[in-house]
Symmetry: C2
Subunit: 197 residues, 2 copies
């Protein structure tokens, strides 16, 4: 198995060649932010960096590339993902990480797979990538500063704020909402009521 | 089997005695509005009136009454419904209509059961009760007039506007969102793109 640092360098070179510089800057923002979050929450920094560098690998794929990846790697997509690169790119990137780069760590693969919708019972690395994707320095939306502040001391509350922002955005722009997102939000509403003794 | 008009009178007397006059006025608003919608969309007016008069039967039940109804009629509730009378009252009312009043018409029972969350592939009577509940004359919220206007000439578009309003309200008040609601909203987004020739 290759070293994570070698894989990181390889993927970094690759994505630089297949995405716009704006998208690449976003990815590097997620790498750096997820490293900081990993430090704070005691998560493995190398795993977070790997998940982050991969997370948008397929975001700018053409329809043909999407179709080819689905067929080549037998990617299973649900009905909403089949219809939308906004949703499918997470699942495609996880398959590419596994099949083309030999990443078999389930935590890394899940963090890539669920970085867009999130899900109930997310692991810490999943939460870190989900949150870093929404608060990296390039992100600008109303309330982003409050989410950024919260992310570094209460990641579960930050996740709820992110859902509020993203679901509101999807509602106002008449886009579909993935049921996983509301199920996850319901889970974090309960999670945030838990008393930490 | 009793006549629907007799059942209506019986339920009308009963609910007047178990709910506040404000809630009762809302129910009568839903009865009248659903009758008008039934006329426009060619649905059975008597069935709509029966579904409407029953729809909030259990809304003001105490916790003991909820528990008793669940046990007595073996009502199956999902995890969100178990936690919230806002969601469970629809299911309880449908069971009461069936077990205490002998209503076996599935269209009526479904219209009562799904009047809060809605669902994908709603029948016309389900849509009518769902919409009437949101636009009866007593309802006041920003944009209600636009939904009212739309309801009488394009019920599917009205349903999308209702979801936008209710999901936004749930987000802003930090309440849980039932996944059935977003699945239904996704369905109506597609439905509204269909070309009617």
């Amino acid at each position: 198995m290759k070293d994570y640092k070698d894989i990181y360098k390889e993927v970094d070179r690759k994505i630089k060649s297949i995405m716009t510089s704006k998208r690449y800057q976003h990815v590097i923002g997620v790498v750096n932010t997820s490293s900081k979050l990993a430090d704070i929450y005691g998560e493995d920094v190398q795993k977070c960096r790997i998940a982050a560098i991969f997370h948008d690998y397929a975001k700018q794929f053409t329809k043909d590339q999407v179709q080819q990846t689905i067929l080549e790697y037998c990617v299973k997509l649900d009905i909403l993902e089949k219809d939308s690169i906004q949703l499918s790119h997470s699942k495609l990137a996880a398959e590419i990480a596994k099949k083309e780069y030999g990443i078999y760590d389930e935590d890394i693969l899940n963090a890539i797979s669920f970085h867009t919708t999130g899900r109930a019972y997310m692991s810490m690395i999943e939460k870190i990538i989900f949150v870093a994707d929404s608060i990296e320095p390039g992100r600008k939306y109303p309330g982003v500063e409050a989410v950024r502040d919260l992310a570094f001391h209460d990641i579960n509350k930050a996740i709820l704020m992110i859902y509020k922002h993203t679901i509101t955005h999807l509602l106002n722009s008449d886009h579909k909402i993935h049921p996983d997102s509301v199920t996850a939000r319901n889970y974090f509403i309960d999670k945030n009521k838990e008393v930490n003794i």
